[in-house]
Symmetry: C2
Subunit: 412 residues, 2 copies
């Protein structure tokens, strides 16, 4: 069953926020057998919203709208929907009761604007939003066409989608299962990989596809088809693909590097700590985003000055003086120092120049040394990431995690 | 001048990636006087791409396409554009020369698929992509309508937009300047703020608008209009608004909390360090994203186990035993410990339960203590963030930065 997502809000069109809702919704909907045909962002403008709805219903049966339903004047979605469905607003005591409950949990006091959120279009089926004050509005345009309006606040939207909307869509519409296998590939460029896989792609049955998604040294390869009858066929193609990929394949499940690392550390009963200079805590953040990471992750020293490197990580001052803070010698001492300090089996240490300042002719912005260590085995690699600070931090983090995961895979 | 952005790729529609390109492009275009009317994401599908182009040209004069121009089979944008503009492919030696240069910088070898990227539609004006292998294609549909196709890889797109596309669009089209003033507000709910500003909004001239963007305890308020003739009027409204907002206003420039903190620390010649438990390095990451942060930021201890808290941060074992790791007493010792260890004037310390495990009846998931400290002044606050791990980490980080910024503002 085909779906279009319409996200509403001027803040999206002026680039004030990144629309992360659509990706989350698309992933959930795809997993549950729906097909997202289009994602569209429009402003807080009645004409644009109505046009998006009209056009949407020409192509799909389900329109999911987020945003524009807060208590303030710039939130106009509810009124536009009243107009579109020729419905008037009625006061819902159920919605008011829900608002009062949400507010009492947060020790907030009701005011007129929030109370107004209990006015709902007469023709909408109202679904209570247990985690916020804006109700969810479900409109049946006709027997087979549905429009649902929900909040744009990410955690509210997520709660509402998971608990209320997806289950209802599933019981109303049948859906053909989306089947996919993902493979994480490293050590090859996208075009070389495509050449390697040319025959495989040519021989793929018609309803199967292969997609490439490169990002910072890793290519995510996605083999996909639809319909539960193809489950076995997909498995067969996946086996064939793996035989071609061999050692290029890091993983045949779609996990992030930090998830793969966590899984493997747990399996091998190893612990890890990190020492970060230019990545400034981003490696620690990536690792600790994973639930249960406290099982294997002990902590990090973010050393943003040479003094900290010598005082806390016990890097020899001579090493820094002789080789510079961004050097193989220093990252190796950092890796050793942090694993001793935190009593861990493994460590990752990074030192580099994130920019925009601090670069020299010999060591320009983007120069990064990474040392990864498991007990007495260590690997140190020099990278050249790029010019922009944020990109350098992300790339260096990714490279460090990848380098560590490769070492970890080999370690028994 | 009105613009539509069309991002192309199945990976967006199945939620495999978050489209961060559109927000970046929209912000840059808005800043440069263009108006983004719509953002649309479609799959790697010729019919959908052509329909999006047709519809787009009904409403705007400039269509910016990203994605679908890599070397692999799933990248079809170039062929769809050939078809749409009834153009055939010709080989461009200039593009090949550029590809060879990009590849030699990265020590890569040319292969057939990458070489094929030098085939370009005859009717396109080709702009060289100095940071990647896929050329930029600029089509003049007629005198006043333009379509530009560019790579979806974020850093390539950014380079191309800044250096090639925006300057060319500016010289071809006139644009009415977008004028805005942003205000960061804390300590009030969105609806209460709207009530406070009701009269101000009612009295706003017709071509002015006010928009609310709430996020984790902070509301970004945006007052905006168009046309350089309104510059003075906007300033006048801003003054009026500030008189109403008074102490609720954290800042009248649109900076992130970490930018505001950096600016203020520099002005006051203060240094800072952080000690993080549940936020796992995210505070350090946010602070170090800011260029020049090494001026005031010395580093962080990410302490993911109690043992580290006692061994490195010198928290007394009795304090943890008596009050628990998530307690006012422990965060205060963490703040003291880290500022002594790093010899900094200020510190932020956080301890909490990010979940999904580790919660108790007394201290459920989402319980977070934050201590912020400047020399002998300190503030400790207990927060209840939420239930989901990622949300808790983000909220706790935001709350900690906000709490520190408030303390810093008062400090002379």
């Amino acid at each position: 069953m085909k779906i279009e997502i319409i996200t509403i809000g001027d803040e999206i069109l002026i680039g004030q926020i990144v629309d992360t809702n659509s990706a989350w919704m698309s992933a959930e909907l795809t997993k549950n057998g729906f097909e997202v045909l289009k994602i569209e962002s429009v402003g807080d403008n009645p004409t644009q919203i109505k046009e998006a709805i009209n056009l949407g219903f020409e192509h799909v049966d389900i329109l999911l709208l987020t945003g524009g339903i807060g208590p303030t004047n710039d939130d106009i979605t509810k009124n536009v929907l009243c107009d579109y469905f020729q419905s008037s607003l009625v006061f819902s005591n159920d919605v008011l009761a829900n608002i009062l409950e949400v507010f009492s949990n947060r020790n907030l006091e009701l005011n007129e604007l929030t109370r107004n959120q209990a006015f709902v279009p007469e023709k909408a089926k109202v679904i209570q939003n247990k985690v916020g004050t804006a109700p969810i509005l479900w409109f049946n345009k006709d027997e087979n066409k549905v429009l649902v309006s929900m909040p744009g606040v990410p955690f509210e939207m997520k709660w509402v989608m998971k608990n209320e909307i997806i289950p209802r869509l599933q019981s109303k519409f049948s859906s053909e299962q989306y089947l996919q296998k993902s493979f994480m590939i490293a050590g090859i460029t996208e075009s070389k990989l495509a050449i390697l896989l040319k025959n495989f792609e040519d021989e793929l049955p018609q309803n199967y596809s292969l997609a490439y998604l490169p990002s910072f040294g890793i290519i995510r390869l996605r083999l996909f088809t639809r319909g539960s009858q193809n489950q076995e066929g997909l498995e067969k193609q996946a086996v064939k693909l793996k035989q071609i990929l061999k050692d290029l394949m890091l993983s045949d499940v779609e996990l992030t590097l930090e998830e793969l690392i966590g899984k493997s550390l747990n399996e091998k009963c190893l612990t890890i700590s990190t020492a970060e200079s230019c990545t400034g805590g981003f490696i620690a953040h990536k690792i600790t985003l994973i639930p249960g990471s406290s099982n294997y992750y002990k902590g990090s020293i973010v050393a943003y000055s040479n003094q900290i490197k010598t005082n806390i990580l016990y890097i020899k001052k001579e090493t820094i003086d002789k080789f510079g803070a961004v050097s193989q010698e220093v990252v190796e001492e950092m890796a050793k120092g942090v694993s001793e300090l935190f009593h861990t089996d493994c460590s990752i240490a990074v030192s580099g120049i994130a920019g925009p300042d601090g670069g020299t002719d010999e060591k320009p912005v983007g120069t990064v040394w990474v040392c990864t260590k498991i007990k007495d085995k260590k690997v140190s690699v020099l990278y050249h990431t790029g010019r922009a600070r944020e990109e350098n931090i992300s790339r260096a983090t990714n490279m460090a995690l990848l380098q560590f995961y490769k070492l970890l895979k080999q370690y028994n």
